[in-house]
Symmetry: C2
Subunit: 290 residues, 2 copies
Amino acid sequence: MVVGGGPRLAGSCLGILAGGGPLPGQIARTVEGLGCRVFIVGFQDFAEPRVIEPWPHRYIRLAAAGEILSCLRAEGCRDLVLIGPVRRPSFSDLRPDAAGVRIMGRIGRALFSGDDGLLAAIMRVLTEEGFVIHGAHEFLSGSVGRSGVLGRIQPDLRALADIRRGQDVVEAIGRLDIGQGCVVQDGLVLAVEAMEGTDRMLLRAGECRQPGRPGGVLVKMLKPGQDFRADLPTIGSDTVRRAAEVGLRGIAFQAGATLMIDSAACIAAADEAGLFLMGIDEGAAGMPTT
Amino acid sequence: MVVGGGPRLAGSCLGILAGGGPLPGQIARTVEGLGCRVFIVGFQDFAEPRVIEPWPHRYIRLAAAGEILSCLRAEGCRDLVLIGPVRRPSFSDLRPDAAGVRIMGRIGRALFSGDDGLLAAIMRVLTEEGFVIHGAHEFLSGSVGRSGVLGRIQPDLRALADIRRGQDVVEAIGRLDIGQGCVVQDGLVLAVEAMEGTDRMLLRAGECRQPGRPGGVLVKMLKPGQDFRADLPTIGSDTVRRAAEVGLRGIAFQAGATLMIDSAACIAAADEAGLFLMGIDEGAAGMPTT
């Protein structure tokens, strides 16, 4: 089944494995609008009720893999999409069901690699179980950050140099499966993201900020070789406001590989705060194609 | 003038440019014990009175470069050593004197590179001014962390694997002049150090810790190509206790390139807390030479 001019589905129902945030609902709306059924498995403690409850759904614990797989099969979902943040659960909180234990065995050491390694292993297991995994960007083409400057504010030459340095940094840490972001101010790397996530890195960058100089730039990129089907960098208007609060002057993200939650709201927030928002093409900072 | 079997000095008095911590006093004691004069320039707000006041000294603001240079010349110090942490001052706090402004011009863009770039530029200017810069390790040979396991606790194979991964991470971030440390737990990089320093990174690593698995390992290394004369990684018993508090199980440092503040106290603190302390040879984690 082909959804609109969009992705080709193997079955008649798209299963959405949903973490937090509004994007699971946006995907459901898009897919239903194109005449295809959806079923949302909301990860307990992560999925937001107001987002998923308008759609056919069920809450299941992250580690109840047996329950998740049989639910998806019962609903006729051969196609899956993983969307929305979850925190890496602690071992003591996991309490996997019987299938969960078996699957954890198949994931093996990757349980303790970086997010990228872990997600790749989970997608491998789901594929072995007969599912087809799609990327969220296939259903959210209007929400994928495009190349070039998106709002009214233009980065100056020094900001472009900071973006270029940030790209080098994120590429280096991404290659080691550490994280997807960093903050650079006038050549100085203020903070590098690992397990703590972007929000906490932004706070720290604000505290390490060098006064009397132009503000820093947040750079978010995919890890080199990262699978597009999981954990795309995501930017919302709250990210923009938080960046402004800690004194940054812009955000650069990888064009074509970053999900924007309501891009009009992001751009409005950036314009209001005086921040630039810029989609960069991989390996070509400072040379937007639009 | 040769100090004991130690470093050869160009003049008769060693000038110590002192930041915080006890090491300026340790160097003064060693050098005076070998029959050489010392004069300490204590950086205001950083140097600790109880450490430097037993020795001939003067407090000078970090940015009062003219005052620092003329004081060192008046005291007959051609040889200098930089020791003890200072925070990178904010521009608004700097208030450089006239010579300071000229020197900042000579340092130029490096003012805004990473610590390594900045310190290299400062050492270049001091050398151009006719001073000879020595490394603190030349005067503190007894305080340089040696290769191998230092205390009672031995790292197991998984800890050695974490050390190896940490070395790769620190090498990658050091190559980009970002920082000198990271924390790895069972293959997962919990935190990477940039401008915030080791103590804050340790706190964050504790918060991102994955329960139910062996604790993480702090890895501290020189940046590749870093000049040994400035900003050697330093470990004290407080570092050890802080690492234990956040649930780490060991500290690995670069042998021959790490200063230990009272190594007996470090080892005692590690033994008491059940942490291992291990000096690693560059590029040879897990293969201590002793």
